[in-house]
Every structure is written in structure tokens, then in C-alpha cells.
């Protein structure tokens, strides 16, 4: 399994139009609902917000990776969006967040969940990748960059 096996171009939203952390999370969640990947958005949103209470997923450098484990997910789903100006995600570096990945996974697969989180984090921690992604105007372009970057990474054991 690779990140780009879960994150499809149609799950990428450019631009994100909402202006608050909560609304952006809802915006990305609605993408997965529209794509029929998530069926219980209210329960999933609750789980995401519960996770945010532990510590912000705004990891800094303009990136946030909200995520949750939930019994309402049967498989992994990832949506991603780019905000044109950035929003306040209570990031660790207090800088605006422009790149947001939303990861939802089933409760019984924490290992795969951690590996996917780690994969996202490793790819997006590269300044060059972030800059390339921020220049993209289409989901397919973002997908192609992620796919190209991940090409050198090993397969994640699901």
C-alpha cells in the first residue's frame, strides 16, 4: 500500500474555501462523503475533534494532518486540500496552515494508521515538495507530485 493508493485525485480539493479549522475539516470531510468513502460524517467529525483535543495536528510549516480512528470507517480514507492564504489551525509554530491532509481509519488497524501518518509527514516535511504543491492549481497535479515523491518510498505493509 502507498499513500497514493488511498488518496485519489478526486479526494483533493483546490482551493479550500472555508476560513476556520473546524470548517476546513468539515470541508474535507464532505469531499469524502461526496465520494461515498465516508458514510457517517457526524460521528467521524466527532472522532476527529476528539483527537484534536489531545494535541493539535497542525504540525507546522503550513501543514496540518487531522486524523482519527473510528468504528464508522471500514477502510482508510484520505482527503487533502490547499488553502490559498492559510488558516489558523493552532499550529505548533503559530503559522497559517495551507496544506491539510485528512486521514480517517478503522479502529482495529492502528499500525497501518501510524504508517500512513508517518508517510504523509515524511513526504510533506520536504520544503521543496510543499512549495511544488502550493504552486498546483489542479488536484491531478498535486497527485502527480505526491506519486512522484512516493515512488522512491517502500510499500507500506497494511
Amino acid at each position: 500500500m502507498k499513500l497514493v493508493d488511498v488518496l485519489k485525485p478526486e479526494y483533493i480539493k483546490i482551493p479550500l474555501t472555508e476560513t476556520t479549522k473546524l470548517e476546513v475539516i468539515k470541508e474535507l470531510l464532505s469531499v469524502l462523503v461526496e465520494q461515498k468513502v465516508v458514510n457517517n460524517p457526524d460521528e467521524v467529525l466527532t472522532a476527529i475533534l476528539e483527537r484534536e483535543k489531545i494535541m493539535t495536528t497542525g504540525v507546522g510549516n503550513g501543514v496540518a494532518i487531522p486524523h482519527c480512528k473510528t468504528r464508522h470507517a471500514t477502510d482508510f480514507a484520505i482527503a487533502m486540500g490547499i488553502h490559498p492564504t492559510g488558516i489558523d489551525f493552532q499550529s505548533l509554530d503559530n503559522k497559517p496552515t495551507q496544506i491539510v491532509f485528512l486521514l480517517i481509519g478503522p479502529e482495529d488497524k492502528p499500525g497501518t494508521h501510524i504508517r500512513l501518518l508517518s508517510r504523509i509527514s515524511r513526504i510533506i516535511s520536504r520544503e521543496k515538495v510543499r512549495q511544488q504543491i502550493l504552486q498546483c492549481s489542479s488536484p491531478q497535479d498535486v497527485y502527480n507530485i505526491l506519486k512522484q515523491e512516493e515512488a522512491n518510498f517502500f510499500e507500506i505493509n497494511p
Binding site: 494535541m55 493539535t56 504540525v59 492502528p110 499500525g111 494508521h113 501510524i114 501518518l117
Partner: protein, 111 residues
């Protein structure tokens, strides 16, 4: 000769483990403050904060003990360590392994 490594999770047993070494006539060991990967992931990398339960048992730190011992002492050392801390097969107790030593310089003689 073997290089004997013990990752001791229960630091409270360090003194007793070193006493075991003395009793086995192991004249010296190096003790290093160390930290397990799970502890760092759970506490220092925010994105994994939601998985602290997965890394349960991860302590704030552990001790890595390194010693050069004769081959015939490997099994008695393991047995003696397990008498102190419990089976190494139990989660959270620790990890031990050996590596064959090809050359060795500077080892003091047994007491």
C-alpha cells in the same frame, strides 16, 4: 567472546543487574541512558499523540548495558537477568542480544 547488550526497561533493576554481573565474574560494563522509539514517537512527535496507547509500556527512558563476556557466560547471564527482571519474552521487560567479537582491545581482567 561476545558483546552482550541488554536494553533494560525497568531502570530500578539496574543496580541489581550490575551486581549480577559481578557475581558472574563479569568485570565491567558500560551503561548508557537510552530512550525507546515508542517514547519519542508518543511524546515528542505531535502527529502521533493520538497513538500513545499503542506505545503503552514505553517508559521515559531505559538503560543500555554493554559488556564483553565469554561465550559460556551468555546463558548464565540471561538466566540471572531473568531471575531479576522476569522473562525477557514478557512485554516491557527488556531486550538482550549478543554479537560475536572478532577483535578486542583494552578489556580488564576479571576481578
Amino acid at each position: 567472546m561476545k558483546a552482550f547488550f541488554l536494553i533494560l526497561n525497568k531502570e530500578e533493576y539496574l543496580e541489581e543487574i550490575l551486581e549480577v554481573f559481578l557475581e558472574l565474574n563479569i568485570p565491567g560494563a558500560t551503561v548508557i541512558d537510552s530512550i525507546g522509539m515508542g517514547t519519542i514517537l508518543a511524546k515528542d512527535i505531535p502527529i502521533f499523540a493520538g497513538f500513545r496507547h499503542v506505545f503503552q509500556g514505553s517508559r521515559s527512558g531505559n538503560k543500555t548495558i554493554i559488556s564483553i563476556i565469554p561465550d559460556e557466560l551468555v546463558e548464565p547471564t540471561i538466566l540471572a537477568i531473568e531471575q531479576v527482571i522476569g522473562p525477557l519474552t514478557s512485554p516491557g521487560n527488556g531486550l538482550a542480544f549478543t554479537v560475536a567479537v572478532q577483535d578486542l582491545f583494552g578489556l580488564r581482567e576479571a576481578l
